[in-house]
Symmetry: C2
Subunit: 310 residues, 2 copies
């Protein structure tokens, strides 16, 4: 039901910037929930755009407290509440649905980069006014596009002429949505769009619910296998982002954790992520996204880990 749903011709951070530069004017009040790197990034973009930014921080690895976030937004009469759905830097899934119920007059914008296509995202049902994602996570497309969706209500709040021409959603919407003679905004990255279209087709063929269930099962199996080896997860079960599992590096491997990741990559062709920000050197981030979210991938990883973690 969103009138503007299309892939921005840039990677996920470009989609963030597109939404931000089209929704805020100088001195607009914005509340940003921050419990990881991508909340920080959104806040930085809002500040560069000249917004008055109120940051609500929670420790990395913990979920945002949506009551407190919504209360801050209400107290400040904020135009926008921004929150990450799947925080890629920590593996936390924030409860956007709860936030949507408490957002009051604010526009709720959700970063769904590591959630769309891997876990449930119900834009309308949850009261999300705009969201963005990335092509290369659960959608299984190469990186290079950022799908965004803007609700009818949110369209009314678009800035008339944002500082950015490239990301101007009014111009892009004119190009994409208006009838009449074909208009031109910028040259579309055609091969990426074909790739995204094919990825979405494959998701429809499998069935979105089945795809999400496959992510859930892969994630559960991974958690079980890690638990059986006494490796702890960073995030409480209730808030775990299924496509991205963050594990506490066992103390005896902390000192050579980068070396272990290198061996996994070079000898086993398996890439796992290191920690970011305050979690650097403390956690590993294991992605099970898109076509890679299956029990075989978990088995392959565990076999490799059993050889490497000795």
């Amino acid at each position: 039901e969103s009138p503007l749903t299309l892939p921005i011709s840039a990677t996920g951070s470009g989609g963030m910037e597109a939404l931000i530069s089209n929704l805020v004017d100088t001195n607009d009040k914005v509340v940003v929930g921050i419990n990881g790197a991508f909340g920080e990034r959104a806040s930085e973009m809002f500040k560069r755009r000249g917004a008055k930014v109120f940051e609500y921080h929670v420790a990395w690895g913990k979920p945002l407290d949506m009551e407190e976030l919504a209360a801050l937004s209400k107290d400040q009469f904020a135009k926008i509440i921004w929150a990450v759905h799947g925080e890629t830097s920590t593996g936390v899934k924030n409860d956007i649905e709860a936030l949507g119920q408490m957002k009051h007059e604010s526009l709720l914008i959700a970063d769904c980069v590591t959630s769309l296509g891997g876990v449930e995202v119900d834009m309308e049902g949850w009261g999300i006014d705009a969201l963005l994602s990335g092509s290369q996570k659960c959608l299984s497309t190469p990186p290079g596009l950022s799908p965004v969706s803007v609700s009818t209500r949110c369209m009314e709040h678009l800035v008339e002429k944002p500082t950015s021409w490239y990301f101007d959603l009014n111009l892009v919407a004119d190009y994409v949505l208006k009838g009449g003679p074909r208009r031109y905004h910028h040259t579309a990255p055609t091969s990426m769009i074909v790739a995204l279209n094919e990825s979405l087709r494959l998701i429809l063929v499998e069935g979105l619910e089945q795809v999400i269930e496959r992510h859930r099962r892969a994630s559960l199996l991974l958690a079980y296998e890690l638990g059986s080896r006494d490796i702890s997860l960073l995030v409480d079960e209730k808030y775990r982002l299924e496509p991205l599992t963050t594990v506490q590096i066992p103390p005896k491997f902390i000192d050579n954790e980068a070396q272990i990741r290198r061996v996994l990559l070079e000898e086993f062709k398996i890439e796992i992520g290191g920690g970011l920000g305050p979690l650097q050197g403390k956690v590993w981030r294991i992605g099970l996204m898109g076509y890679n979210a299956n029990e075989e991938s978990v088995a392959r990883l565990m076999e490799a880990l059993d050889k490497v973690l000795v």
Copy 2:
């Protein structure tokens, strides 16, 4: 010799915006040469960024008078002179070399979207301080990347913190150029970068001079063939942009020019461009770029035109 030469993760207009948002602060003086749609676009981006923009206009289809452009820039003590090298909307090649000799203290920025890889571009020799291009023109890569290059002199004029985070060249340079532990800015569009790398490799294998010569010969043959059919070109020979030839639509075909382009596309699988802006309905734009710049393409087009233009 440019310290920052890399593809921006966006299409050509994204590269324009990257250079503009990193080089101007509010109220900086900028002189823009305009003789087509892409000069207009640059001016619009500068204005949105808050620059004081002095536009120097010449009729679409005519080359910029570089003495007048340089004089305006000198009179205004402009920080930047912006000019299009290959104006894709008209097929005019502006004499950037001449402008470089007269730029005084200004930074000369050149839009080389439809010139790089198809005609000579001598960044250092011509005194260009920064340039941008697009992957999908003479470089024969799919659309989606914008190669840019910033000279040492120009690096000193980068804005410390541009409004755009996505296009922030200082952050991107930190990621791409600095030694030490790998930094992260945004996820790179990897498959596009692989494609660009392969395209550049193919140009090196053929030899850049040979590639440019191939563009020149294809363009000359096209002009000859069109001339022999009494079809006039829009641009004087001296200023013709070899990869893009703009023809005056013969009067008897003006009324159904769109239909002719449709037949060419549907029946002959040949796409030629319509006119933009004031040239709409008056000209056709014929691209001979990259792998398509050869005498066989010209022969195929002429064969089709001979059937269609009756």
